[in-house]
Subunit: 240 residues, 2 copies
């Protein structure tokens, strides 16, 4: 549903509801809902485009068909389809899928993360106990909004910064390519699938205070490949 | 030479001369030099790692084995190998090659740009006569340095901004996925190969005043998919 619409060349100025990303988003969410409805009829399903089915079900799927709409719209093959399964609000399964490159990360609570794709990569974070050695990433300066000064404090202590990537960057953290991601303005469907993937690869994903992510949190997310990096990152963000 | 070193997992803290990007950079430049030396013995060759051979030759190859070292180092498959052929300082042939995905752009002065790759895309820029409709891109805020205020004036007038991409983003402009790129701190080997690719796809690439790029210029580069966009972009950058 997504791949045929990638790199189609729409007019520069289109109404939002006619853009290829919107068409792909809706078609992909409907396709996933149809599969889940048939195979898991008792599960809840929450998606950005078509709302929530059975919100009180103990098992709920959370879908984000295209995470990284700007990457999709500009032809960069680093957006992702995100699929999470929650058990009483806790993410127990997460998929990061790149439908154009064919890369896929699968995380299951308590198990080692799996990764398959044509470009190589092993699903294990790398040791990086000091901020001074860390590769930091964030999708865009704009998403940081009022949290930019705190983020800049963290960035001032790391080795290097790179931009772009959305959920795909968390996948790269799970491959030991990035050490640290600090972002703001994420919705639960943006991060739920990332939790089992990162934990199963040896990393940690929390809010900016180091506490577990919550659906009613403020949208700030901090991920580290090496858990030893977490206290220093939290301190830098807090101004410590 | 490059592909086997992509997504290898080095220690977080390595000396610069032992990093996989440095090893790949040198090996790829040597491989290209060997081919060009054998096939074009009278041509000059300039590369970042191994200097200039025959600098006074009328035909000179300019090589940048890995443009986008941060993308390479963080496992993002959107770095590029750049190959340009200059005739008396004028770029007459340019290649943007992504060795991991297998995408390749080929531009030849006076001819239509060619593009091949597994993810689709057609080598023609798209119409976008107004800044208000334009998709603007730049590799990173950091590269803009003292030119950030001028860039922000431009960004304030466009539809949307996306970050990351290096030379690959210019390839996406040549596919009609991005309308406008404004960057600073580029070296001649960063932009020489882009000139024939973008011109052959219907776009323009200039300095920030709209004048042709020169090897002794200040490193600021402006690319537009629709030539009609150039005066407004130049005016916005100049504060007009």
């Amino acid at each position: 549903m997504i791949r045929p619409l990638f790199r189609t060349r729409p007019e520069a100025m289109l109404k939002a509801d006619a853009s290829p990303v919107t068409i792909a988003d809706r078609a992909a969410e409907q396709a996933m809902r149809a599969v889940l409805h048939a195979r898991c009829p008792d599960c809840g399903i929450a998606g950005e485009e078509f709302g929530i089915d059975r919100p009180d079900a103990p098992w709920r799927w959370v879908l984000d068909p295209i995470d990284g709409t700007r990457a999709f719209l500009t032809g960069r093959p680093i957006f992702a389809t995100l699929i999470a399964l929650l058990h009483h609000d806790e993410p127990v399964l997460g998929v990061i899928d790149q439908p154009v490159t064919g890369e896929r990360w699968l995380g299951v609570a308590g198990e080692a993360t799996q990764f398959h794709g044509p470009f190589g990569g092993l699903p294990a974070t790398r040791p990086c106990p000091a901020l001074a050695a860390a590769e930091l990433s964030a999708t865009s300066p704009e998403m940081l909004g009022p949290h930019r000064p705190a983020w800049d404090r963290l960035a001032a202590q790391v080795r290097r910064v790179s931009w772009g990537g959305d959920a795909y960057a968390y996948g790269l953290l799970a491959l030991g390519q990035i050490d640290l991601i600090a972002e703001a303005d994420l919705k639960p469907w943006d991060w739920a699938a990332l939790v089992p993937v990162i934990q199963g690869a040896g990393g940690r994903i929390t809010d900016w205070s180091g506490a577990p992510l919550r659906a009613d949190g403020d949208g700030r997310v901090l991920a580290v490949g090496d858990p030893a990096l977490l206290p220093a990152a939290v301190a830098a963000l807090a101004g410590g």
